[in-house]
């Protein structure tokens, strides 16, 4: 990445000084997690979650700790990734506005940096860094699965606006968000990848209906959106009209960077060390304690092996992509690892917890492990299924032949789709 320097040509502050100053500030200004979920922090409910996250982000901005690697002209600090790493180091165990981590800081803003007009960058990047605007991605569709370029949501140009109709799904916390990047079809008479555009859409406006989807664990973070003649100003296209696949591909690249721990904009640690918490909880719940039963020790050992190896893998792949040893598509390798690891960890926790995972006293946290097991496959589905990930690794990393496709050589309106499949509403 480019290192932005101060006017005098040198970094404003060396890494050691920065680290010390950040540590002091964090200790004085952030709240320790004290066992709270790192994602939700000390929020009391859904609404409070957004309010808290925005307030903490504002605090970070005012103290000069927001957007460390973003350019100075858009409200960032223009520092190298080591400064972000240092900040992650000193904030470990403290409440952070993780709501902003993905997709806002690691996926959306980097894509705006890549494709935005000067006006778009000046309008949207500082506002997000100040904690004023939270973003969401409108990518998947109820008819689409992993086939993002097969979008059926349409944006038709009428005068100064694009009129948006259709539906998006699996958007996380859409109802808490302020803006969205939305992939929509603007030309139906060309092959699928050539008729897409990416729009910047205000989430709360007439014509957009958001429904929350109840997850198997009882939470309802995921949403589906319905668009009925939503007017999007024509200057709110990100990148060129009909070049949306190019923009979306970059968005997915940033997503892989975020997932593989190579994004310089992430505020969360790039390791999986905390993933052992589940297994540890299961072991502690054992009446006899974790290390006395040889069978339990095998499972604890396996869990620690998996998480430590995943951490090593994330670092190796990030380095490999940076140095060109592997193509950018190799970001799919940690994604596959993450999915498989979490599936196994959930099973290990269930196994250790025994019958207390299925029938528990109200105050016994062991019950969470059984519930987590129900949603186990989520980690292998969200962000692109592990199946599509295996396609990407074999085709774009190992160079094996692509799967045959029957939608590349003809106008999209002639492609067989799931458009007729009834929608759940």
């Amino acid at each position: 990445m480019t290192v932005t320097r101060t006017a005098s040509g040198g970094l404003a502050e060396d890494l050691g000084t920065f680290h010390a100053r950040a540590k002091e500030w964090v200790t004085a200004n952030l709240e320790p997690l004290d066992g709270a979920d790192p994602y939700l922090g000390h929020a009391t409910d859904d609404a409070d979650h957004v309010v808290r996250a925005k307030a903490i982000q504002r605090k970070l901005f005012d103290a000069g700790f927001a957007g460390l690697c973003y350019p100075v002209e858009y409200g960032g600090r223009g520092l190298p990734a080591e400064y972000q790493d240092a900040f992650i180091d000193v904030t470990y165990g403290y409440e952070l506005p993780r709501l902003f981590n993905m997709p806002t800081f690691t996926i959306i803003l980097p894509t705006i940096l890549d494709f935005g007009t000067e006006e778009q960058k000046k309008r949207f990047i500082p506002a997000a860094l100040k904690g004023e605007e939270l973003w969401v991605q409108f990518l998947s569709e109820p008819t689409g699965g992993s086939d993002l370029a097969g979008a059926l949501t349409r944006a038709d140009r009428r005068g100064d606006v694009f009129v948006l109709n259709g539906s998006k799904i699996w958007s996380t916390f859409a109802w808490k968000s302020d803006y969205a990047l939305c992939v929509a079809r603007t030309d139906w008479d060309v092959p699928k990848h050539k008729g897409l555009s990416v729009l910047i859409v205000k989430v709360h406006q007439p014509g957009i209906t958001i429904t929350q989807i109840k997850h198997v664990d009882g939470t309802d973070d995921f949403c589906q959106e319905f668009f009925d003649d939503v007017a999007v100003p024509a200057d709110q296209v990100l990148g060129q009209v009909d070049d949306g696949w190019n923009v979306a591909s970059r968005l997915l690249l940033h997503e892989r960077e975020a997932m593989s721990g190579s994004s310089p904009y992430a505020m969360a640690p790039r390791t999986a060390a905390h993933e052992n918490d589940q297994v540890r909880a299961a072991a502690l719940a054992q009446d006899a304690g974790g290390a006395t039963d040889a069978r339990v020790r095998q499972l604890i050992g396996e869990a620690r092996v998996l998480t430590r190896v995943h951490t090593a893998l994330v670092g190796r792949i990030a380095t490999s992509i940076r140095t060109g040893r592997l193509p950018a598509a190799a970001g799919s390798i940690p994604r596959l690892s993450n999915g498989m690891m979490r599936v196994r960890l959930a099973s290990i926790a269930l196994e250790i917890a025994g019958d207390r995972a299925v029938a528990w006293n109200e105050d016994d946290p062991t019950g969470d492990l059984g519930v987590a097991y129900l949603g186990r496959q989520g980690s292998s589905i969200g962000g692109g299924t592990t199946e599509i990930t295996r396609n990407i690794i074999s085709e774009r990393v190992l160079g094996m032949p692509r799967e045959p496709a029957e939608d590349l050589d003809r106008p999209f309106r002639d492609v067989r789709t799931n458009a007729a499949v009834p929608r759940h509403r």
């Binding site: 050992g301 396996e302 092996v305 893998l313 498989m340 396609n391 074999s394």
Partner: protein, 378 residues
């Protein structure tokens, strides 16, 4: 492989690779299987000239690394040797040389190290015992004081290179505590019995100690204080085993991917079948993971990091579990030819399985990892 090599490390790797290709191609490995020793001593001495025996030995004692980190250097050699399923007592001799360099008296070091460094003599670490864990508590071979001498009684099995070694580093227990002795293989009372084994060229022996008498000058390090040396030796061995396994697996994966491109069925390349592509994607993930944790473990042990013992065991647990499975998958993808004597796949499988099962298998390592975690309260 470490992604961040110094030019000198690249040179060491490249000269090792060229030398192995020129002197011990797989055809030569197959013929060495007929050789009782499994390797040629003259050849080993030529390898020693490339640095194979000196990397873990201090410069003041005649050794020297190429990068300042001798174990990282040696791991590169081990990876190359894994890729060629090479003969030679790489792990056995180096782990003993490391301990002699660090702990032997001046007299003992000057008597033994020059021969190990030049490759003229060979050493082996006698640690594993029948049915016992590779832990300090697992050691039952007894060392008993008798005047100015010590008397050793017990059995070690399997001893890597035990039938070929000139010097045996013996880990023993007794009223003084855990201790290590350097014993010449010609000592009276030793029963050295070659074992049959899976590897084509790496051989193991059972060594019985029937009242073997050694002078007190044979004590390596502090009498009764060998538990730290034991741990250091074990960490070194685990790292080198992982490097060797990863080198072998990387090679097998490479030629299996190529085979999938070259081989057709039903008019299509094997590499075009999604069912197989997905298996290759999984294998790529496992291979990169194995390489990543091996590098992390090598660095942790090299730097004596506080978590070196844990990371080394995690690496062995993962690499030694995953990589043999990966090679079995590659055999499956080759079809019938994969289970023939003539195909080289089994040479690699033999080497990785031998590494898997010796110096603590994955199940043992997972147990150790869990116990370490419990101790840390994390």
């Amino acid at each position: 492989m470490d992604l961040d090599l110094t030019p000198d490390q690249e040179l060491l790797r490249d000269t090792t690779r060229k030398f192995l290709h020129a002197t011990v191609p797989l055809t030569a490995v197959r013929s060495l299987a007929e050789n009782a020793a499994g390797f040629d001593r003259g050849w080993w001495q030529r390898g020693a000239e490339l640095g194979w025996t000196s990397l873990l030995v201090d410069e003041r004692r005649g050794g020297g690394s190429v990068s300042g980190g001798g174990l990282s250097d040696l791991a590169l050699v081990a990876e190359e040797m894994g890729a060629m399923v090479s003969p030679g007592p790489l792990i056995a001799t180096n782990v003993v040389a490391q301990t002699l360099s660090r702990e032997a008296s001046e007299e003992l070091a000057s008597r033994v190290l020059p021969g190990l460094l030049s490759g003229e003599s060979i050493a082996a670490w006698c640690v594993a015992e029948p049915g016992r864990d590779i832990t300090p508590d697992g050691m039952t071979l007894q060392a008993r004081r008798d005047g100015a001498e010590f008397v050793l009684d017990g059995v070690k099995r399997p001893v890597d290179t035990g039938g070929q070694a000139d010097w045996l580093l013996v880990t023993a227990t007794g009223s003084d505590g855990l201790s290590q002795f350097l014993v010449p293989s010609s000592a009276p009372g030793l029963r050295i019995k070659p074992l049959r084994g899976l590897d084509m060229v790496r051989q193991h022996a059972e060594i019985g100690f029937d009242g073997v008498r050694v002078p007190s000058s044979a004590v390596v390090g502090v009498l009764g204080g060998a538990s730290l040396s034991f741990e250091a030796q074990l960490q070194t061995v685990l790292v080198l085993q992982c490097a060797e396994i990863v080198g072998a697996t990387d090679r097998v994966f490479d030629f299996t991917v190529q085979y999938a491109f070259d081989r057709s069925s039903f008019g299509r390349a094997l590499a075009s079948y999604q069912a197989l592509k997905h298996r290759f994607a999984d294998m790529k993930l496992w291979l990169e993971s194995a390489q990543a944790i091996t590098v992390d473990a090598t660095r942790a042990v090299q730097d004596s990091a506080p978590d070196a013992g844990e990371v080394a065991r995690i690496a062995k647990a993962y690499v030694a579990e995953r990589c043999p499975e990966l090679i079995q998958d590659c055999i499956q993808l080759h079809g019938g030819i994969g289970v023939t004597w003539d195909h080289d796949l089994h040479l690699y499988l033999r080497r990785v399985v031998v590494n898997r099962q010796t110096y603590g298998d994955p199940m043992h390592q997972r147990d150790c990892v869990a116990i370490l975690a419990d101790r840390k309260g994390a």
